[in-house]
């Protein structure tokens, strides 16, 4: 019954770069995720999606702000408590090639977290359970003794997912889990993630830059731009009635696989590029590219404010 809430007002998660410059990677980001739901986190390259996901999993420490998991503040958790937390919060990576140790076979790979967390004593003990996990992820039993290089991208991603669900986590951060896969394979992995959610009640933070996949899989969607969340709402609101001019432009620039529709659509082509996170502008970070920009936007930063019960946006004009 407890509401899984991850509160995340990270004021300045500053990552130190070379020359002591500060990357304002993620700034003042707050949102919550409800148990059993999928929150899609979308935005362009460098907008801070991965950084946010890693901070939630306590893989990087925020400069400011708190993270709550099941109502408990976990921002300062360490040692035993952090290890215990990691059991319940897992990560699925983007790159199915780099994220699996090439010298371990599939059985060892999937068994490893189970042994680290003391569920099983050895790979042999874990074997039966691992085979069950593989089957659940659509991999046959004979894959267990093979090595990652023998698998295609889609199969490797399945192995990564089997590894992540073994500890029966309540929460999974999936960081671009299908971006590296071909369209026909992408659908297989998206379906698998959805099936696992139905069976096991897992909560997802689904990070992606592909807004079509995000629309398909998410209950709610947050849009990031240059380290900040500019809009967050339930899925259909974001896609059908976006408020933030960035969300609007972003959605309109995604090509639809329908020639007729594509010809008739109104497209907003933004000029310019994403601002430098080393010296972010003092006002709205989207101001330099925004078609609706007003004077105030350059001066003062708009904060995320409620527009309806399920819809927040950060914009002075809309």
């Amino acid at each position: 019954m407890d509401h899984l809430t991850i509160h995340f007002p990270v004021g300045r998660s500053r990552l130190l770069g070379r020359q002591q410059q500060v990357v304002h990677a993620v700034e003042d980001v707050s949102f919550s995720i409800n148990r059993g739901e999928t929150l899609g986190l979308a935005g362009e390259s460098g907008s801070g999606k991965t950084t946010t996901g890693r901070a939630i999993l306590r893989r990087i420490d925020p400069k400011r702000g708190t993270i709550r998991f099941r109502g408990r503040d976990i921002t300062q958790s360490s040692g035993q408590a952090l290890r215990h937390l990691r059991r319940h919060m897992q990560l699925v990576f983007q790159d199915p090639y780099a994220s699996l140790n090439p010298r371990m076979n599939v059985l060892d790979l999937v068994a490893e977290p189970l042994i680290v967390h003391g569920i099983y004593n050895s790979t042999d003990d874990a074997r039966e359970y691992v085979l069950e996990l593989l089957e659940q992820c659509g991999l046959s039993a004979d894959t267990a003794d093979r090595f990652p290089h023998a698998f295609s991208g889609g199969q490797r991603q399945r192995i990564g997912i089997a590894r992540a669900i073994g500890l029966r986590p309540e929460f999974i951060v999936a960081d671009e889990p299908v971006s590296a896969l071909d369209v026909s394979i992408r659908a297989q992995v998206v379906n698998l993630l959805q099936d696992l959610q139905d069976e096991l009640g897992i909560t997802y933070l689904f990070i992606a830059h592909d807004l079509s996949v995000v629309r398909h899989i998410s209950n709610r969607v947050a849009i990031m731009y240059a380290g900040q969340i500019v809009e967050i709402a339930d899925r259909d609101t974001i896609y059908e009635r976006p408020l933030h001019p960035y969300t609007e432009a972003l959605l309109s620039s995604i090509p639809v696989p329908n020639p007729q529709l594509q010809r008739d659509r109104r497209r907003i082509v933004l000029s310019g590029e994403i601002p430098d996170t080393l010296e972010p502008p003092s006002g709205c970070r989207f101001a330099s590219r925004c078609p609706l920009v007003e004077e105030r936007c350059h001066v003062e930063m708009p904060s995320l404010s409620p527009r309806s019960e399920t819809h927040d946006a950060a914009c002075w004009v809309r």
């Binding site: 071909d182 026909s184 998206v190 497209r267 994403i274």
Partner: protein, 326 residues
């Protein structure tokens, strides 16, 4: 057809590797008319880049064109005593290319200006002044802000989108008739992709360019092309005008691909997925390359290769059991 610029006819490309012979491109035929934009789509490894390399005469060792022909305005670029000289003359002049990887296509140690002027000096024998003039004109043509400043910058100082504009400028240096763009926007963010696609469409219109656009994104094809060629396992599965192919795809693969693409404008409860994975091109199946994943597959599909055949005017499909409107 008088205004056919390029004709690819029964093209076959093989790579002779230690692992075996990679049948990268098998019996691919299509044409490009003047003023036309043709899309070449397919998933990773389906043979798109190799096809374009073959057109440009740039197939890398250990590969070679083992059968078929590429004709530019009716003249073979593969066979005959002058083919080698002809393709050298045409490449970069009448046909030019924007390569898949924008990072490696620009030399990091030379300025944008020197790389741009080099092309016109070498190909057109421009003087230093003429080349500089032309380079600035080209940077302006591709909507680069501050051309004079960009001229002096190094590739590393530019964003991905700007680098792509430079590569397009470079490809347009000698006023080509055909531009081959291999995944020109894949590495870019969608708002930058939209800028580049708009630029390509403008250039196509203003300069009367023909374009061969290679991509794996069906949305990009829908928004920019007149016709589309769908590749699978080194072969063409389907060719036709985009409206027809997107509305009534006849090949089970094109159909599956469209159904498994999540869409920004629609919500579906479950994606239709195509089970299985593409074939190994070292030992491609003797029958239809899609047979192992196809729902309509019959015994004939496994034992006999379906050839690309015309089902109605302008529409070709390689399948024993194509979907038809009726």
């Amino acid at each position: 057809m008088a205004d056919r610029l390029l004709e690819v006819d029964g093209l076959q490309v093989r790579f002779f590797t230690r692992r075996g012979v990679v049948h990268a491109v098998r019996d691919v035929s299509f044409g490009i008319e003047r003023d036309e934009t043709v899309g070449l789509v397919g998933e990773s490894g389906s043979g798109k880049s190799v096809t374009s390399q073959a057109i440009m005469g740039l197939v890398e060792f250990p590969g070679s064109i083992t059968a078929g022909d590429v004709r530019w305005k009716g003249q073979s670029l593969v066979h005959g005593p002058t083919a080698a000289a002809d393709i050298k003359r045409i490449r970069g002049n009448e046909v030019s290319m924007v390569f898949q990887d924008p990072m490696t296509s620009l030399n990091p140690v030379f300025t944008i200006g020197s790389q741009l002027t080099e092309v016109t000096r070498r190909h057109l024998g421009y003087s230093k002044m003429q080349a500089r003039e032309r380079a600035l004109e080209l940077l302006d043509l591709v909507d680069m802000s501050n051309p004079r400043q960009r001229f002096k910058q190094f590739p590393g100082e530019l964003s991905g989108g700007m680098r792509q504009r430079v590569l397009i400028a470079m490809a347009l240096s000698c006023e080509p008739e055909l531009l081959i763009a291999d995944e020109p926007t894949t590495a870019l963010d969608v708002t930058i992709q939209a800028q580049i696609l708009e630029l390509l469409a403008e250039l196509q219109e203003d300069l009367g360019l023909s374009v061969l656009l290679i991509t794996h994104d069906l949305g990009v094809v829908a928004g920019t092309c007149d016709r589309v060629c769908v590749m699978y396992g080194g072969r063409l599965a389907e060719v036709g005008p985009i409206d027809d192919v997107f509305e009534t795809p006849t090949h089970p693969y094109s159909r599956g691909l469209l159904n498994s693409t999540p869409r920004i404008d629609e919500v579906t409860s479950r994606l239709v997925s195509i089970d299985g994975a593409p074939p190994d091109l070292v030992a491609p199946p003797i029958g239809c390359p899609f047979a192992a994943r196809c729902e309509a597959c019959s015994d004939r599909c496994i034992s006999e290769m379906p050839e690309l055949a015309t089902i109605e005017k302008g529409r070709d499909v390689a399948c024993w059991h194509p979907f038809t409107a009726s």
